[in-house]
């Protein structure tokens, strides 16, 4: 699924399929995901928990747990090279250097018994030929950049608040000036005020360092404030993909619609929100045809069989739904 490509895309994911094997059952986490990302732009991956967003990110960075996860097929091209075919040794040079990742829960993302500064210098020393002193100076700069006084270089993680810890994680991720930053729900664990600061800081750094980013979240507000493009993920598939405006102005996939209806809007005083009824499908045995069909209002016979076509909507963004025209008709806004 790739949008209009002006130049060769910086990152391209083609038909990525990943499943986890737990005991005898197979959990199909990612079922044929394709998207691409231009240099410097940020893509929001939005969806309910368990939709496979984090698996996509971990697949890109190839840090899926060997024992249980297997990438069935698909390609991940970074500037043209397929990361999946790289040797582990070659991939390690990319991890933390060209692609970096921020995790959801800052409270446990840092090694509790290592000084914060050392956890930053560790990444730098690993990927660059700097001396220890230079690395430490650079690490202090990173701390200042993320809004932490350099004097706290030698302190331990437990001496930092949640927000501060997340800033350290960001400092670690951006220490080697990666080309791509994968942010897995970076602000979910933080309270709202800190959330805004962190998002603002990430956006600032992105501009300054020209990093492209994939931001994983289930919070539409976060997407609105930080992302250029949006991909709606449901049960391991991208059901709708487009620019921020296209998705926010003309949500065309029933699931996207459902997501927007579930958010209280400021200007209309609604008595009831419209929740999407039912639950996400069990990943071990996914339904036939469109995975959303059991919960979809517009579900018809056609939705039950075969795989859904990817159609281009009126304003040019993509949507995987065979009842598109029916859905487009009763567009609310």
């Amino acid at each position: 699924m790739n949008s209009k490509d002006q130049s060769a895309p910086f990152l391209e994911v083609k038909d990525l399929e990943v499943f986890y094997s737990a005991g005898k059952q197979k959990v199909q986490a990612v079922n044929g995901v394709s998207f691409s990302l231009q240099k410097g732009r940020s893509l929001g991956l939005v969806g309910e928990t368990g939709a496979g967003k984090t698996t996509i990110a971990k697949a890109i960075l190839r840090i899926l747990p060997h024992a249980s996860a297997t990438v069935k097929n698909g390609q991940i091209l970074l500037n043209g090279t397929n990361l999946l075919s790289l040797s582990e040794e070659r991939m390690r040079d990319i991890r933390g250097n060209e692609i970096a990742m921020i995790f959801q829960d800052p409270m446990t993302a840092l090694n509790p018994i290592l000084r914060v500064g050392n956890q930053i210098t560790e990444a730098i020393l690993h990927h660059s030929s700097m001396t220890k002193a230079e690395a430490e100076k650079h690490a202090m700069e990173m701390l200042e950049m993320v809004g932490i006084p350099a004097e706290r270089f030698g302190e331990y993680p437990h001496q930092f608040s949640g927000g501060m810890k997340q800033r350290v994680v960001i400092a670690i991720a951006l220490a080697c000036n990666p080309a791509l930053l994968l942010a897995d729900e970076p602000t979910t664990a933080l309270d709202v005020t800190i959330q805004a600061q962190v998002l603002h800081m990430i956006a600032g750094l992105k501009e300054k360092l020209g990093t492209s980013m994939i931001l994983i979240t289930h919070d539409m507000g976060v997407v609105a404030s930080s992302c250029d493009d949006v991909a709606i993920v449901y049960a391991g598939q991208i059901v709708e993909y487009g620019t921020l405006e296209q998705i926010f102005d003309h949500p065309s996939h029933p699931y996207t619609r459902g997501l927007f209806n579930a958010i209280p809007s400021m200007n209309i005083d609604q008595e009831y929100l419209e929740p999407i009824d039912g639950l996400p499908p069990d990943p071990t045995h996914l339904p036939e045809g469109c995975y959303f069909s059991p919960r979809c209002k517009y579900a018809a016979e056609a939705c039950k069989t075969g795989n859904m076509p990817v159609i281009t909507t009126a304003d040019g963004h993509l949507c995987r739904c065979c009842q598109y025209n029916l859905v487009a008709k009763d567009e609310k806004k």
Partner: protein, 317 residues
């Protein structure tokens, strides 16, 4: 933090005094009479009574207790052994060193083999290495130390004639005893490290480490292992307790004149001063060892060190 440990050391003093009181009265309850052991079997009643007077056993219980407490805790004089009439503090010195050496070696053996087994099991979950290491650990836990000692002697000293069966001398005399004492420790360490490694490997900061592009080895040994080792420090305390107890049996089998053997000979001969001194010293060493374990725990884990520090800070306000 030092204030906390100072408090604990101060608190040890009444405990050790209670231990002394306990062992002193227990010894008087033990059937059998030291004087009877010293006079020959065919001695006359009068010789036996003279011996009781000589040992001071005829005085009332409280006077004996008073004398014992003042000697031990005020003058630090452990008195003379009934059997050999030599001063106990002189005899017990080298013996304590031997028991500590044996303990150190057993602890080193247990920790090194335990950590190796634990890591291989944790890093190869559900593979044959995992079950193999855990079977070895289970065997280690279920073999009684004295039985293991006999088997080791049979194999290494008699059949292969590689190691001396008994006695003391160079390091080779300590290998078999250390293994028999350490076997139980190896098993407990291996199982503890495996379970805490499994917890740690699943945690976020290990994923963060991987995302930095570190090699798998660096992730395991630089990030996972140190965090996994912290909880294992607590079981060192339990292992030391078991080791001090076990040394009584192992030193008898291997004829190593350590504290354990000195204590058992003392008990068999009803040599009250020797037994009292051994129990008091063993419990002091044991308490200090447990204290060191807690200290190590605090030193290694900054979170706990901070808790002590902060408690100190609060008090200053």
């Amino acid at each position: 933090m030092l204030k906390y440990f100072a408090k604990r050391i101060l608190w040890m003093i009444p405990i050790v005094i209670c231990v002394a009181l306990l062992i002193f009265s227990l010894m008087r309850l033990i059937p059998g009479d030291p004087a009877r052991m010293l006079v020959s079997r065919d001695a006359t009643e009068e010789e036996y009574l003279n011996k009781r007077v000589e040992l001071g056993l005829d005085e009332p219980f409280l006077t004996q207790l008073g004398k014992f407490l003042t000697d031990t805790f005020l003058h630090f004089d452990f008195g003379k052994s009934y059997m050999t009439k030599t001063s106990i503090s002189r005899d017990i010195g080298p013996r304590m060193v031997r028991t500590m050496e044996l303990g150190l070696l057993a602890a080193a053996f247990a920790m090194i083999t335990g950590i190796l087994l634990g890591i291989t099991a944790a890093t190869h979950v559900k593979k044959w290495q995992d079950s193999l290491c855990m079977i070895i650990a289970l065997v280690g836990i279920s073999m009684p130390a004295f039985w293991a000692a006999l088997l080791l002697i049979m194999l290494f000293s008699v059949k292969l004639q590689l190691l001396p069966p008994s006695g003391i001398g160079g390091i080779q005399y300590y290998i078999l005893p250390a293994i028999s004492v350490g076997l139980y420790g190896t098993a407990t360490f291996a199982r503890q490290i495996r379970s805490s490694m499994l917890d740690v490997i699943g945690s976020d900061y290990v994923t963060t480490a991987r995302s930095k592009g570190l090699t798998e080895r660096e992730v395991i040994y630089k990030h996972a292992l140190p965090n996994a080792l912290i909880p294992t420090i607590t079981i060192i305390g339990g292992f030391l307790g078991q080791m001090f107890g076990g040394s009584i049996v192992i030193e008898t089998i291997f004829s190593i004149p350590g504290m354990g053997l000195y204590l058992i000979t003392g008990i068999n001969n009803r040599d009250y001063p020797v037994v009292q001194t051994c129990v008091i010293l063993l419990s002091i060493i044991f308490c200090i060892a447990m204290l060191l374990v807690d200290l190590a725990y605090a030193m290694v884990d900054p979170r706990i060190k901070a808790r002590y520090a902060s408690s100190k800070v609060k008090r200053n306000k």
